[in-house]
Symmetry: C2
Subunit: 223 residues, 2 copies
DNA sequence: GATAGTTTCATACAAATGTTTGAAATGCCT
DNA sequence: AGGCATTTCAAACATTTGTATGAAACTATC
């Protein structure tokens, strides 16, 4: 049975360095120096640099998805197979925001790594990302149960916008802070979650789903 | 007076290649081959690879910002110094979405380049991005005039979310298409603009601004 | 305690990349 | 045409990068 010591050290060092400095300018040599292992160890244990990155991302993605599904399941059980749309959206965006926002000095390495992922999006990660769709479908299914009568298209857009707001807040919290001169408190994680959930839920539940967009189109002004 | 021919050819070739293949795997040699100029021409005319990228991005950003401000100004003039919040948001997200969505084969190179920018975000571009804040402040000012009585914090969040939805739609339209199995028509650009504007405006105008978030916090369920 | 399989190590390799150089070519003004 | 500045060019440079190699060290099993 392999001791796994070297492997683990590489993973930890790589995640930390990628989180701090981005994928662009962290080399295998940086990683092995940080991990105090030999250069060849990376290729021995992972095959290639890309597979190392992929393994890091897959591990964290699985954790994130598991946490999301745990919250979703809890919400559905509490509501008797039919969770409120708010609870569903909270299960979707909560884990990401809770992990990636909040006081900088207390964010985990894992969280900072995932922030990097959302900012830089390097090829080996993009390839894996496409498998996320099956996971999202489970949330669509829950939303369908929660909001019967809504067209699927509306549900897709609602989920898309919810993720958009969460992702962009993670990615660009710094810009929001600067723009608002600190008036938007990006450390108030729970407040932000409620904000995102509130807007997304409003988008999903307000107005007649089918006629909303066309009606607005008539009202648009010049050009 | 320099003929500018080489310079222009480099810019055009670089933009096309970056748009098609991303910043990661386009080298100076690829660019000069595409432009039919000598390798040293890039450093002669631009100083470095990063400055070439920066110039491309600055040019397109200026165009985008100009277009946004043009629409904003038109909306304010039409409404007598006070544009509707919808019109303001449309001026903000319209140009980006109009440029970067729609049938793939008819997107301009410039648009596809800006999509790349929003996906990959390479260092020389990140540095420039921070200057965008002054530009966004003009929209905050217009929103303040349009919605007097709203707290600035709400305006910042509204603008942030509007940009988030637009950006993510540009960045990830492919995933949305796959997730919805084509049911979300990402080629209906004007429809998407109205959708984004509608949700963002709703977020800004619904409920009492100050008490909205706290009220929702009380209603949140377990964990 | 010998042996087979696993892991570590120093080093080399090969390829790619941005940048520099100095000479040749070109264009421009008097 | 001559002389000066700008531009182009081929070639070389200096790194940096991920990966491969083969021997040494280690571990566990019989």
């Amino acid at each position: 049975m392999p001791s796994d010591q070297t492997r683990t050290a590489i993973l930890a060092a790589a995640e930390r360095l990628y989180a701090d400095r981005g994928f662009g300018d962290v080399t295998l040599r940086d990683i092995v120096a940080e991990a105090n292992v030999n250069l060849a160890a990376v290729n021995y244990h992972f095959g290639s640099k890309d597979e190392l990155i992929a393994e890091l991302f897959v591990t964290r993605s699985i954790q994130l998805n598991r946490e999301r599904l745990r919250l979703l399941q809890a919400a559905e059980e509490a509501g008797g197979e039919r969770a409120s749309i708010d609870a569903i959206l909270r299960a979707l965006v909560g884990p990401t925001l809770r992990g990636c926002l909040g006081p900088e000095n207390q964010r985990s390495t894992a969280a900072r790594f995932m922030i990097r992922v959302s900012i830089e999006s390097v090829p080996p990660i993009r390839r894996i990302r496409n498998r996320e769709i099956d996971h999202l479908r489970k949330f669509i299914a829950a939303m369908r149960r929660s909001l019967p009568g809504h067209s699927d298209v509306e549900l897709y857009w609602g989920l898309h916008f919810a993720l958009a707001m969460a992702q962009q807040t993670v990615r660009d919290s710094e810009r929001l802070t600067k723009l608002s001169e600190g008036k938007c408190d990006v450390d108030d994680v729970e407040g932000i979650i409620e904000r995102v959930v509130s807007v997304a839920a409003m988008a999903l539940t307000t107005g007649d789903a089918a006629s909303k967009a066309p009606a607005r189109m008539l009202a648009r002004d010049a050009r």
